[in-house]
């Protein structure tokens, strides 16, 4: 019996060293490698690799698992081996282990040797290694050809010997029989020239599904000898919208009552296929009479197809607040609201959008977004120069509406020093070429390559070769220290760009996600080729990633979610719309302001957030506006704006707004920003910004001194409204509503608030306060209450 009770790190490492003959350092790498399994971000937390742990759903619901289900389709059953009688390890055995969940990241493909020292490769991507582990290791106990039933593999998998993973395979199942027969046959590796799996097909690939409908989908594997095989019972299934479409381990799918679009990712042996379902709501929706632009055309067409009615277009006050928050990151001022609400110019919304786009507030707000993603982080006090320079460069580029491809090119191919060329600061923050390509791929291409550094991407076509040939673009980035501490001079180092695939040992020339970019001479900076490839009109990723990211900014939910996880197996909810926007963006010369204009002038963007029975549950087709919480910086500015206070930040001019802060260092000095989730610029993912509520936030709003000080700010709104005699309570309430919500109060709101303002107050000793003081306190209370309403905290 293994000594599994000791602190086993060192023991395990020693054992591994013996077995694999690796150096300790490599073992650490190996650990990291095997634990890196990417998965789309959905549940904040997950236990293990969900999709690859089938079997237990059956246990939980008490349904039998693999056998005897009437709907199971297998005219060509899993019992049939592709090349006749001899089971082939890669083609026949590994899929069974994968289906049983043996080789998930938390089980035997777990980093550092697998559970209990039995190591398999993640999802069976390395069958040759698996063969050695299974057949050769463990003193041969794992397989006993003389008495197959006594093989540890089968004893454990069936639970006849205690198994941490529980019962994975039933003794009377076909899979058990296959494993048994393979062991009995001497556990052959199988013919080297056996047919290879070429592709996976799902039947049907797409269809319209009624609400509540069920059906069986099938997975068909195609092999190099033109044969095909029904692998439905061996494939793995995962829904991208489990609330709408559920799937069982056997490929049975069930639609719920929620209308919309959903997809099932089907995986088998490193190949993926996607089943798409449209689930209509069933209402008859009249086509939109006059679409404003492409957004409306495709968005309403989709709603019509799905039978989901759209909400009506929102009123002027809602539009003004929404557009001002989304474009300029601030509330409309009282004057702006008054003027907009009294305007009868039919073009007022369009004009307002143009005005906002031309304002420096737009550049501040979007620079705030981009600098966080580009990791403009202050790790050391001396970083301040580069932080300020980089922020200014981003902001100026946005203000001047530099074409997006130009901005990215300047960043990617930056050379020189931070002072001479601020985008160099990115290379100061992101030093490792691997980190560089991971960031570039995720941020500018919407492709998450992290997995492929160490193993074949589990949901994607990216291999390790793809990863390292992308890294090769950055292999000739040279660095020289400068006189300024922590600052390097970035230059192109002459030479042939190449990077070694750590697994195969092969040196790879630059290639852009499978695209050949041609021979790059030693004297040419390969990063320029990458930039050329990105901004070419037929690049399938570059424009799509940006358009989807901006769409999400304005609609809260990306056409592809998460917004930076674009892959064949994660289809957009409205592909036609995404494609049309992409084409517009490319045709406009990557004009960011124009893109925002197209989005925000659409009627789709201007739909109300009010719902009805038929569209309430819709969370992906934009039938109504989805409210979002104000982000930390915007909320702080909004509170300052409403209270008439201001927040002072070190090293910046008085009156600098929180959205205009250049870097993350202010999160330390402002507890507000930290508590409300301003990101620390440490991730290229927008998800670093936490928008969810917390106890600390509520405590902060209720009692933190900075909020109290803002309410009582000398010369602030509460003081001013309580001290000028000319302001009636009604006028005060109207001003507060305009400042907070950009609208006038309703009669009932007015009554409630005015009544509150007129209430008498006592001091802490119980003595009545003077009218003015009482009014001021009541105004502070009212402003506090307005700040804490949902209408204030949300952009709606």
């Amino acid at each position: 019996m293994r000594d599994d009770l000791s602190c086993r790190g060192p023991l395990l490492r020693a054992a591994l060293r013996r077995v694999v003959g690796l150096l300790p350092m490599t073992i650490r790498l190996l650990k990291i490698r095997l634990s890196t399994i990417a998965r789309s971000r959905g549940l904040g937390l997950m236990i293990g690799l969900l999709v690859t742990a089938p079997g237990l759903a059956g246990d939980v619901t008490g349904q039998p698992e693999f056998q005897g289900q009437p709907e199971r389709p297998s005219p060509v059953g899993p019992s049939e081996q592709i090349d006749g009688d001899t089971p082939h390890f890669t083609n026949d055995i590994v899929p069974i282990l994968t289906k049983a969940g043996c080789n998930t990241g938390v089980c035997h493909a777990k980093a550092g040797g697998g559970q209990n020292g039995f190591q398999l490769s993640l999802l069976g991507f390395e069958p040759d290694e698996d063969y050695d582990h299974l057949v050769r290791e463990g003193r041969g106990r794992r397989l006993s050809p003389a008495a197959p039933d006594q093989s540890l593999l089968l004893l454990k998998a069936t639970g006849r010997r205690p198994h941490g993973g529980g019962v994975r395979i039933e003794p009377d199942s076909i899979h058990y029989r296959q494993l048994h027969d393979w062991i009995a046959a001497g556990a052959p590796r199988g013919a080297a020239d056996a047919p290879r799996l070429m592709s996976l097909e799902v039947q049907p690939p797409d269809e319209v599904l009624a609400k509540g409908a069920s059906r069986q989908i099938r997975a068909i594997a195609h092999y190099s000898n033109d044969s095909e095989r029904d692998v439905t019972s061996l494939a793995l299934y995962e829904s991208n919208q489990p609330a709408m479409l559920e799937t069982s381990d056997s490929g049975r799918i069930d639609a719920s009552d929620i209308p919309g679009k959903a997809a099932i990712m089907v995986r088998y042996q490193g190949h993926v296929a996607v089943y798409n379902a449209a689930i209509p709501a069933g209402a008859t929706v009249a086509p939109l009479a006059d679409p404003e632009n492409v957004v409306d055309r495709f968005l309403f067409a989709n709603l019509g197809k799905l039978g989901i009615p759209a909400a009506s277009v929102c009123n002027d006050a809602t539009f003004l607040r929404r557009a001002t928050l989304d474009i300029a990151g601030r509330l409309p001022t009282v004057a702006e609201a008054e003027s907009f609400l009294s305007s009868d110019d039919p073009e007022r919304r369009r004009k307002r959008i143009d005005a906002l786009l031309d304002s420096p507030d737009y550049a501040d707000f979007f620079a705030n977004k981009w600098t966080a993603l580009l990791k403009n982080r202050r790790d050391d006090r001396s970083d301040i120069t580069s932080n300020f320079a980089f922020h200014a460069w981003v902001r100026d580029s946005l203000l001047a509406n530099q074409p997006y491809d130009q901005i990215v090119r300047q960043l990617l191919a930056a050379t020189g020093t931070v002072i001479g060329n601020p985008p160099v600061a990115w290379y100061k923050r992101v030093k490792d070429p691997k980190q560089q390509i991971e960031d570039v791929a995720q941020l500018f291409l919407g492709v998450r390559m992290q997995c492929a550094q160490c193993h074949h991407h589990p949901f994607e076509r990216w291999s390790q070769d793809d990863y390292y040939s992308l890294a090769a673009f950055f292999s000739q980035v040279g660095r020289k220290p400068t006189a300024v501490r922590g600052e390097d001079l970035i230059f192109h180092e002459r030479g042939i760009a190449q990077t070694q695939n750590v697994k195969s040992g092969q040196w790879l020339r630059p290639a852009a996600l499978g695209t050949d970019v041609g021979e790059i001479p030693a004297g040419e900076d390969p990063r320029l080729r990458l930039a050329d490839w990105m901004s070419s009109a037929d690049n399938p990723f570059f424009a799509k990633a940006l358009v989807n990211r901006y769409w999400k900014h304005f609609f809260s939910i990306g056409l592809i979610e998460p917004e930076d996880d674009i892959r064949d197996t994660n289809p957009p909810t409205n592909p036609e719309l995404l494609q049309a926007l992409e084409q517009e963006f490319i045709a406009s010369g990557f004009d960011l302001k124009q893109l925002i204009r197209v989005i925000t002038t659409s009627r789709s963007y201007q739909l109300s957030s009010h719902t009805n029975e038929l569209n309430r549950s819709d969370r992906q087709n934009y039938s109504h506006h989805y409210p979002t919480r104000l982000q930390a910086e915007v909320l702080l500015d909004a509170i300052d704006q409403l209270t008439g206070a201001r927040t002072d930040f070190a090293n910046l001019p008085i009156g600098t707004r929180a959205v205009a802060l250049p870097d993350n260092s202010y999160n330390r000095s402002s507890p507000f920003l930290k508590v409300f989730g301003r990101p620390d610029s440490s991730s290229v993912c927008e998800c670093e910004r936490v928008q969810s509520a917390s106890l600390a936030q509520s405590l902060h709003l209720l009692s933190a001194s900075d909020i109290q000080n803002k309410l009582a700010f000398p010369g602030g709104r509460a003081e001013r409204l309580s001290q000028s005699d000319g302001v009636s309570p009604e006028n005060a309430v109207a001003e507060l509503y305009l400042a907070a919500f950009g609208r006038y109060p309703s009669p009932s709101e007015n009554d409630l608030a005015v009544h509150y303002l007129l209430e008498p107050r006592n001091d802490s000793d119980g003595k009545p306060l003077g009218t003015r003081e009482a009014r001021k306190q009541n105004l502070q209370d009212l402003i506090w209450a307005l700040i804490n309403t949902k209408e204030f905290m949300f952009n709606h």
């Binding site: 508590v675 620390d680 307005l786």
Partner: protein, 494 residues
């Protein structure tokens, strides 16, 4: 099966207590425990969610562990193991230091003379002498021990969440466990002058940071902000504001269907409870303790910190950290006893009395109040101090440091071996686990690393460390501990 367990227990109890640090033993009872944990974990991930896992756990006999708690007493900078829990009388003078040895209540285990009170109650806790990690800097060392990041390079920010945030996160997102019934207004994770410099919630988000109490709880004007407001005028005003807010919200109900809005209200009422509930006020109010108890912990910052820790845990806080730093440490206010900072031996002597008294009182109190099964106390720093004494000029005069320029002895960072103290948590007390070589430089018996340290804490909290994965910013499932397993001798024995 249950009969054999009982038998085994009886045998254990009958076994003579070991006089030297025992090595690992193959206790089938412990194996059984571990396995049932694993089973639950595996079933949980197959049911595709944490709730699934916790539901299964709730149905299992270990469900009562849900309310277990941990107090971590942190020695920032690292305590010299050779001068405290792991004396090396046979090492040369350039190693061993000036302190004499004393016997402890546990036969065969000796401490230095700095810890007489702990020595006298050594049968109430367990010392692990064989902890080690691989990072020599404070940031990386702290990140290794608290978050399990094996990186040896110092980083300004942690890459992985520390165990405290993880525990807070897992328990807060536990809809099938005791969470919805949690009516306790106290925050789950509280730090009293907590260690926060080199750790934090990383990708879990700041919502899972501690409710931090700072200041000197021994000071007569010590107040915890945001807790149990006593000013009734203020409370009335807060209530009025919240009431007004609710009425205004009711008038524009555009957001009814959005879950987020409901969450806001829920947090607001929790915050109001924290602010206005007299119970929370009481939990933080040390004046509720009688003078004898306060004296017993020591009328100083550390003593009252640990008393407050006990009080809060008793009142329902589940994760509590408290860092022993400040003027009681000496000139540089922490345990970083390089010769340039402190005269290491003066410094240890300077802080010994307060330290010994506070930790002793905490351990005794935990036992006397019947918390010894539910509450696990661990005392540790990020590493030990270099067994070989170095001599360098002081950089400044102060407590435990000679005037600038004076040569004085110091000890540097030593991750290769250090000790930590474990009490409560249902652990068999009176053990001494592991050993270092004759100079205290390297572990020679019962190697335990950060992964084991963390898995042990998680185990006490009912979290199966080997099977819980959290998504990082890239959506990559990241294990909460990627190596190590609970230290068997430090697992619940009852």
């Amino acid at each position: 099966m249950s009969r054999s367990i009982r038998q085994r227990r009886a045998e254990d109890a009958a076994a003579p207590s070991s006089t030297h640090c025992p090595g690992p033993s193959g206790d089938p009872l412990q194996r059984g425990t571990r396995r049932s944990f694993m089973r639950m974990g595996i079933a949980g991930f197959a049911s595709l969610s944490l709730p699934g896992m916790l539901r299964l756990r709730a149905a299992s006999p270990t469900a009562q562990q849900a309310k277990t708690a941990v107090i971590m007493v942190w020695q920032p900078g690292g305590c010299s193991h050779i001068d405290t829990y792991d004396p090396k009388p046979l090492a040369g003078t350039e190693y061993r230091g000036p302190f004499g040895r004393i016997a402890t209540k546990v036969p065969g285990m000796q401490f230095t003379e700095l810890l007489p009170r702990q020595a006298a109650i050594a049968d109430k806790f367990t010392v692990l002498r064989s902890m080690h990690q691989t990072a020599g800097g404070h940031p990386a060392g702290s990140m290794q021990l608290l978050s399990g990041d094996s990186d040896t390079r110092d980083k300004p920010k942690p890459r992985l969440p520390d165990w405290m945030s993880v525990a807070n996160y897992l328990r807060s997102n536990d809809p099938a466990g005791n969470d919805p019934e949690r009516r306790n207004p106290l925050p789950r994770y509280v730090g009293i002058n907590p260690p926060t410099q080199y750790n934090g919630p990383a990708y879990l988000g700041d919502a899972y940071s501690p409710f931090a109490v700072t200041g000197d709880p021994n000071s007569p004007d010590f107040v915890v902000p945001n807790i149990g407001l006593t000013d009734s005028h203020q409370v009335r005003r807060l209530n009025r504001r919240v009431d007004l807010r609710q009425k205004l919200d009711d008038l524009s109900r555009a957001f009814d269907e959005y879950g987020q809005a409901g969450t806001l209200d829920e947090f607001e009422s929790q915050a109001m409870a924290l602010l206005t509930n007299p119970e929370t006020k009481q939990a933080f109010d040390l004046s509720q303790e009688d003078d004898a108890t306060r004296d017993r912990y020591g009328r100083n910052t550390w003593g009252q910190q640990l008393l407050l820790a006990r009080r809060l845990v008793e009142a329902g806080v589940e994760v509590l950290t408290s860092s022993l730093r400040g003027p009681l440490c000496g000139r540089v206010q922490n345990w970083d006893d390089h010769a340039v900072n402190h005269h290491v031996f003066d410094a240890l002597r300077f802080r010994a009395a307060a330290y010994d008294q506070a930790v002793t009182a905490l351990i005794e109190d935990i036992h006397e109040r019947g918390l010894q099964d539910r509450v696990l106390v661990v005392v540790t720093g990020e590493f030990g101090r270099t067994p070989k004494i170095s001599h360098q000029p002081s950089t400044g005069a102060g407590n435990a440091s000679a005037p600038a320029g004076t040569q004085q002895p110091g000890r540097d960072h030593w991750p290769r071996a250090f000790s930590n103290l474990w009490a409560g948590g249902g652990i068999q007390p009176g053990q001494c686990i592991g050993a270092t070589d004759r100079r205290g430089e390297d572990v020679i018996e019962r190697h335990c690393g950060p992964g084991d340290f963390l898995a042990t804490l998680y185990h006490h909290l009912g979290i199966d460390a080997s099977n819980v994965f959290l998504e990082d910013f890239n959506g990559r499932p990241t294990p909460i501990v990627d190596h190590g397993r609970p230290i068997k001798e430090l697992m619940r024995s009852t």
